[in-house]
Amino acid sequence: MKSNHFFKILNIGILSFIFFAFTIFANENIDERVKNLTLELRCMTCQNQSIYDSDAEFSNDIKKIVKQKLQEGESERNIKKFLVERYGEYILFRPLMNYNNIFLWSFPFILLIIGLFFVLIKSKGNKV
């Protein structure tokens, strides 16, 4: 009878330990995700500092909202989208992969190809 009571208490103890361990792990995991995400975001009121590194009021607000949204189960992609919709792409250190940016990155190569094409035509014309 006494041992039964002991095992009940032991079981409750183990379950409580598991519960608290999970809670601590989940919080640490969220903090880590907040850190990783805010390192990719620009503090709009600072000189080239990330939101994570900055202690400005704006950065603290964004950290708070990012943490809240992660806790609500929102994906990092959705959080970035939420911030870009309000602050523009400028808030991201790494630009988005959209048509505008793809055009911007590929434009020098397009110019190079056009240039080579003209050089080729010219050199062919000279041979004839």
């Binding site: 709009m44 009121t45 009021e57 704006f58 607000d61 909202i65 870009v84 919709e85 309000r86 602050y87 523009g88 792409e89 400028y90 110019l111 056009i114 240039g115 003209f118 035509i121 010219k122 014309g125």
Partner: protein, 174 residues
């Protein structure tokens, strides 16, 4: 014909240079990026009045009227600089609805500020947690937005507005 082929890349390069120069000389400050919300619908908000918590303003309340939204606080010194201009705007454009959002300010301080400097706004909403400012993409006070009758943001200005900005940028839109 071959001359046109040779000249085309040069013409393209010249056009790019003209575009770049126009942008550089336009006086746009790269540290002040354009608002992502410009020409988009005004964000959904709900705010209690500074003077009566039961008096609430919502996004739908500013539909069908031109509204000038100003984010301010008693602790913001540049806000004090532009503050008198809002009286001028209200006098010159009585049809324009002036909505002030008091940002992260203790109620008593905000009331005292508006008591001392005057209250030019038709409605002063409270944004104590800064969530309304976040929806508007505010990142420094003061910030001013002009909303048209369709509920679209047609103008945004970061920093204190001046007589020149009022005359050259805001008034043509009214």
């Amino acid at each position: 014909m071959s001359r046109i082929f040779i000249l085309t890349p040069l013409i393209v390069l010249l056009i790019i240079c003209i575009f770049s120069l126009t942008y550089l000389l336009s006086g746009k400050d790269p540290n002040k990026p354009p608002s992502a919300l410009l020409n988009k619908d005004v964000p959904i908000f709900e705010s209690s009045s500074l003077y009566n918590l039961k008096d609430v303003i919502k996004t739908k309340d500013i539909k069908n009227k031109k509204t000038l939204i100003n984010f301010f606080a008693s602790w913001c010194s540049p806000c004090k600089i532009e503050h008198p201009l809002f009286f001028e705007i209200r006098k010159k454009h009585p049809e324009l609805y002036l909505l002030g959002f008091n940002h992260k300010d203790p109620t008593a301080d905000a009331k005292k500020y508006l008591e001392n400097d005057g209250n030019p706004y038709h409605f002063v909403g409270v944004d104590s947690d800064g969530l309304i400012a976040l929806e508007f993409g505010v990142f420094g006070l003061p910030e001013t937005y002009l909303i048209n009758e369709d509920g679209k943001i047609i103008f945004k200005f970061m920093g204190p507005i001046t007589k020149d900005i009022l005359k050259n940028e805001i008034e043509p839109l009214l």
